[in-house]
Symmetry: C3
Subunit: 230 residues, 3 copies
């Protein structure tokens, strides 16, 4: 079902059972897999590939217990040229995927997130709201990128890294702040980042480490709790 208001470019390939809602704009040379759902207002550039069974442009929802209520006027999802998105993924409204971004299968990115040029958001990675991801960043499979996080350019985040942003763990409406990962830092697989820690430029966090305080630039930190390795 393609809504009559959709604007579709040249050389667009549609799979079976695709749903395109109102006011969607799709560029040229785009491939859309079977059973893809493109929700209203989504804007897609040229040479974009969308895997099967993926939802693009989901609006926010919530229940009584959730601190953040859905915004009334979220911007559309904007997908720049040469972006590739996998299968069974869910990308919300008010996300910007810059040129050349790769998003894996079974991946989700919530609203108010920007992913910079040529960055990778791996399979089964989850990105929460209000987070900024730089250029040429690698977020590997299974990572959890919390809300209110800043990831600068050329950061490498290994598989299954976990982060958090609420040091009071739901006890009240305190300000949430996710980690800040500075340019070129590398995080080993299954590391745990506590709220508001800063990982310095080109610092290295060992696999399985638990980072409870800031890591200086160019240092390597390992262990639980993480300690600088001289």
């Amino acid at each position: 079902m393609i809504h009559a208001s959709a604007q579709i470019g040249h050389n667009v390939t549609f799979g079976e059972n695709v749903v395109i809602e109102e006011n969607v704009v799709i560029g040229n040379n785009v491939t859309i897999g079977h059973n893809v759902i493109i929700k209203k207002d989504t804007r897609i550039g040229d040479f974009v590939q969308i895997g099967e069974l993926t939802v693009l442009g989901k609006p926010t929802s919530s229940n009584k217990k959730m601190a953040r209520k859905p915004g009334k006027t979220l911007d559309p999802l904007v997908i720049a040229d040469h972006v590739t998105i996998g299968c069974n993924s869910v990308i919300y409204r008010h996300v910007k995927l810059e040129s050349g971004v790769f998003v894996g299968d079974l991946t989700s990115i919530r609203e108010k997130v920007t992913v910079g040029e040529d960055s990778i958001v791996g399979r089964n990675a989850i990105v929460e709201t209000n987070t900024r991801i730089g250029k040429r960043v690698t977020i590997q499979t299974g990572c959890y990128i919390t809300a209110d996080m800043i990831i600068e350019d050329e950061v490498f985040i290994g598989p299954c890294v976990s982060s958090s942003n609420d040091k009071y763990m739901g006890m009240g409406n305190f300000k949430h702040q996710g980690p800040v990962i500075k340019r070129g830092a590398k995080i080993g697989n299954n590391a745990t980042l506590l709220p508001a820690v800063t990982i310095g430029e080109n610092a290295i966090v060992g696999a399985g480490s638990v980072i409870t305080k800031d890591v200086p630039a160019n240092k390597t930190v390992v262990g639980n709790p993480g300690r600088i390795k001289e």
Copy 2:
């Protein structure tokens, strides 16, 4: 495809390509996203929202190597009023979601699980069979809630927490017992809970901790292995 035996209330909105199998009951003011599959016997209350590409009421399956064989007569999936379920999720038969529950995207809940009023089961969280989740519980994104676990009211479980229930790791048909998390306890992100540990009332488990034995009420435990922080 809506089976002729389905009972559908007033003001129900169906997306495209929805499949509703036999003996499904749907209340009033329900919104069902595109490509949703509602398997037979599922019961849905009023004011329920179901995201795209989600499966409701999946029966159990297994292979030769699996200890638990599918029950022959599982109850239907029951979804109470004001429940919200995300996209690309899979919820089994014989699950009860109480009023106001929120289930995220890419989430799965297996059979014989109850989720209490207003609780949250976050995106990409997986809940195994035979587990009881209380009221106003928060299970954040990416958590793994093992089988045979008890989570009391107002527990907070941070992102990517992992639990287990089989201390013999598949060596035989020993009794499985998951952790017990008492009322108001809080578990930090990426913590690891071993089989059968009890986390006491209002206890706090630090992010990245490995909990090998019981945690007393009101205490904070951190590290690997977890130790009480005085």
Copy 3:
């Protein structure tokens, strides 16, 4: 939509909205859920069950930043007899699932992977490319099995275990080598395995441990970093 070139056996059950692309071969007594997508060239044996909203035979994709480019001539996905696959899963081309394999929901297996007879790849587990999984292996829910890994027969991998294969974390085109897990070894939940470690026959890795070097056969290792428990 079933492509005219598909070869379909006897007693095959199709759900609604199923898509079967060209040159697919399906055996006898196969059940295919609603909205399943079977991509071209996939070969499916007898008595296979495919859950809803699953993609079979996905070709590889990549962006500029990814070291591995998609092969031009990947073999088809081959699914042997008596295999069961869950819902919302994504299995690539050039995968071989041997007889009796069970694959859970929300699971993904990339190209150049073999899964041996009667093995289990649990829900929400992700298996990367070029990895060999033996017979009667259990990979529990939420595991991350990296590329270039060898898992021998009768290994047990608990929930949420994480592995990696790149000790230079994206710094260049060094050879990648995942862990080797020898026959009968058991890995506790949320353990972290560093690149190229070998876990010896019948060794045990404790839950939450971080394994930075080889584990001898028949030994138990716990902690961060992992140490032999005497």
